[in-house]
Symmetry: C2
Subunit: 239 residues, 2 copies
């Protein structure tokens, strides 16, 4: 049976300007692979409402689950919650459950829950909250979309709390065999192996190391014996 599919929507001008190198996508990709959920598409968009709304609708319609990161803080450029409400036709306002979480958090540190911080309690009407053990301001799930923070430590904590609730498929087994030959030499036998094993994902990733050319052959599949057999076959041709 095919694994469930997922997409990610990264929201933030700072990634597109090159100021920040995204780390959340790489983290989520690894976690989903281990959980047996196929990350199939990622989109990165800026802080532009119409673009965010279009992208999340397109992805939510096409994949089983969508994860977003970014834009749920207290400043004027944090517009993700409002965009999600618009995308799914839900009302949005400060919600009592989210406000209570923030109030408890700021009471502990004696910080005022001012108007800006209260923006983080704006949650679409039918959404379910996602716990934020780092800084309290919750993420939320609306339809099949998991809306999470952009700060990597918070994003990772939210992923950790959400993943066990998702039904994954068989985790992918991945084996790598390094070959110190040009990809052009490897391509023929590798293509035949790929054709003989349509259930496996067989990739070739060239490298240059200490002045020598080579490629990592990565074979992925759900059945360990099949993956091992394929690795053994290509290793027999290129030890």
């Amino acid at each position: 049976m095919a694994n469930p599919t997922a997409a990610m929507l990264v929201i933030g001008d700072e990634i597109l300007s090159g100021r920040t190198r995204d780390a959340n996508m790489h983290h989520l990709a690894g976690e989903l692979t281990e959980a047996g959920i196929d990350l199939t598409e990622v989109r990165i968009v800026g802080d532009v409402p119409a673009v965010i709304v279009d992208a999340v609708r397109a992805l939510a319609g096409r994949y089983d689950t969508v994860f977003t990161s970014g834009g749920i803080g207290p400043t004027h450029d944090d517009i993700t919650a409002d965009c999600m409400a618009e995308a799914f036709g839900q009302a949005i306002d400060v919600r009592d459950d989210a406000r209570a979480l923030l109030q408890a958090h700021y009471d502990k540190s004696g910080v005022e829950l001012n108007a800006a911080r209260l923006r983080m309690a704006r949650i679409p009407a039918d959404a379910t909250l996602i716990e934020n053990p780092v800084s309290a301001a919750p993420g939320f799930v609306v339809e099949n979309v998991y809306v999470m923070a952009g700060v990597p430590s918070v994003f990772q904590a939210m992923v950790a709390s959400v993943l066990p609730t998702l039904t994954g498929g068989a985790p992918l087994i991945s084996k790598t065999h390094a070959i110190f030959r040009g990809e052009g030499d490897i391509a023929g036998p590798l293509g035949e192996l790929a054709q003989a094993n349509p259930d496996l994902s067989i990739g070739s990733y060239p490298f240059q190391r200490d002045g020598r050319y080579g490629a990592n052959i990565v074979i992925r599949g759900q059945d360990a014996a099949t993956v091992d057999a394929a690795i053994a076959k290509i290793a027999a041709v290129f030890p």
Copy 2:
């Protein structure tokens, strides 16, 4: 006048599985910002022909320029050139100009230009070649799409040769002011500053450093004096 817009399409299962952390997007983002071209959207897709074709058509229709990375090597999973030909309704076959580049390169090292390597000379009929000073196999330009290699050293060399041929706008001036206060304290005055300066892009990026909370306020715009004035204003409120 608004800057020209660009999108990037990253092609490769290895990014989506979490095996490889993409470096090309971050590189291109920085280069485009310096050139005054607005990177507006990035999509990352796997080695699936229909998905690649759909994505490149959508992006090419929406933005002035599209850059792709990945999938132009000699192995069976290198399908980008064929996808581009399909997306733009062009014929594709081994082209004499591309074959000559490869022949010259492999003659020098005494390596055979076999059938697999010849795949790298498959170029859509009306495309223009992009030089590859690292390993000869060319990229190409088809319509408004620049098709480049996934190996970072080759990708960067291709970007360097292509960028001077593109017409950019005014490069963005970017200034940062770090404030050691919670974002919730900064949000009010920052929102007013953003409203008073619709021509500036004003972002707030929270951090945690040595146990202290804060946020980097990043102000970007095309006019240095306006950017400086805005930085001075927020610095007056939060020194």
